[in-house]
Amino acid sequence: MPIRYQPADVDQTHAGWELLPIRFHRFDLSRVLLTNMVGEHLFVTGEDFDALMSGALPSDPQVRRDLAGKHLIRATGEDVPVELLAMKTRTRYRRLAEFTALHIFVATLRCEHTCQYCQVSRQSSANDRYDMSAETARRALEATFQSPSRAVKIEIQGGEPLLNFDLVRDIITEAQVMNVHHQKQLSFVIASNLALLDDTVLDFAAEHDVCFSTSLDGPADLHNTNRPRPGRDSWQRAIAGIGQVRDRLGPDRVSALMTTTAASLTRVRDIIDCYVEHDLRAIFLRPLSPYGFAARRARPTDDVAHWLAFYQEGLDYILELNAHGIPMVEHFAAIVLKKMLTNDDPGYVDLTSPAGIGIGALVYNYDGYVYASDEGRMLAEMGDTTFRLGNLHANTYTELMTSNALLEPLEMSFTHSAPMCSDCAFEPYCGADPVFHHATAGDFLARKPESAFCNRNMGIFELLLDRYHSDPQARQVFQRWANR
């Protein structure tokens, strides 16, 4: 049977080809990274990139097909790639219409720990000064239910919220009553050091489907050094608390977060081993917090290099564990991989553009003041009220959400109009963090070459892409993480 059309014939029927919107990054000596409008990526050789830039298609038909299939080029005037890119773009920005999925309630500032990196807690036992009032909580709930988001997570933190458990209980029960009308997908998290966990709390949590989030910085010596409490037993209590929640409510009802300090940087395997030993299935290798640093770093790149070494060692160790059948997940990688490999939004407020302030999260402080992010609240405790949107007792929801304090940083930090970000091949994976940049550099945008946020993220993006393409085992693991 004669084959009428050969592959070249088919290519020939197009009146030439043209570029679609692409960005590039010289990845290493042999590869150029190309990304399309929605973050799909392709590595090409330097020669193929030069050919493309001088108006010629690469000679290898497979490369030509990959360029077309990933919507980096199209046949002149072809409209299917345009329709598909538009659909994918719409999916990626869907969250903007359904804003504020995370609502943080600061139930009290009281706390019995004195963690070295905490800027907010108070040791006082006088309730009325540092506890959220019932009226404030009610107003905060009203604001919460005004969010268009169909799924709402209410996270109650502090200080130590279990010191004001009566209010915590009231917030949750009242929210559930209000939800009968609103019918949102509600979830609750209590962020607690778990030292004060008892049966009353556990019974309530079991009945109302409440989850816990706690701090676990690593092995006992590291954790207890970071987080002193009377009795020097923060770690022991955290572990015991994790066990209690797990036994009573189930393994998926407690998650642990670590805070990275200088002391953590040489101990990443110990930290991960601690998580594995205690049956925690996910770890978040977080950056060093910039808040509270007395002096702004002139060139943060040295710190970033040390931290990236920490991260890389941790990630590679986690991949090794996965290869041995232990399914540990690294949270930040999972968030980035979801942005790289799918059109879905991981809903992580600190890595998104437009920024996650207000749109992703709102913080209702014990005193009624409302902040665009948790870090924004911390800055206020240190005297900087830039990210204070208003007060529940003085402003309407509309006033809070249209305040200049929210809109100005959103607009100014928008990556598509930021120098360097707008050209960056990694922009679809990255985000805007006006709070971080304001705290470290004094403006919402800062200069990205000097930004630890930028340098760190680029290091991670390069690391993940490298592992994805060089290690088939890592690739499988990454695909699983991206689809969580």
Binding site: E18, P21, R26, V82, T89, A97, T301, P419, M420
Partner: protein, 97 residues
């Protein structure tokens, strides 16, 4: 000397490309650029603690070339990019109900 100089032919390079490239190095040098219509004269004023100046200057020149490429990509694809965004948000219901 903490200053390195280089020149770019104005017929092949735009001031925009030079500035965008310089921005990427702003943690290492500050750029002063003057042009007479034929040539852009660049003075790279390095921070005192930066040591490998000639290699950074070379990277800068390469980056300027890459910025020229980005300029070209932007120009060629601006039209289709606007169409994609228009289609993406055409039924977005952004007005308050």
């Amino acid at each position: 000397m903490s200053v390195v100089e280089c020149r770019f032919d104005a017929s092949g390079y735009s001031i925009d490309a030079i500035q965008r490239a310089a921005y990427k190095f702003c943690d290492r040098f500050a750029l002063e650029v003057t042009g007479d219509g034929q040539v852009f004269l660049c003075r790279l004023d390095f921070r005192s603690d930066v040591t490998d100046r000639s290699s950074i200057a070379r990277s800068f020149k390469t980056e300027v070339l890459d910025q020229v490429l980005r300029e070209r990509i932007r120009a060629e694809t601006e039209g289709v990019r606007n169409v994609i965004l228009a289609v993406a948000f055409s039924n977005a219901h952004l007005e308050p109900q």
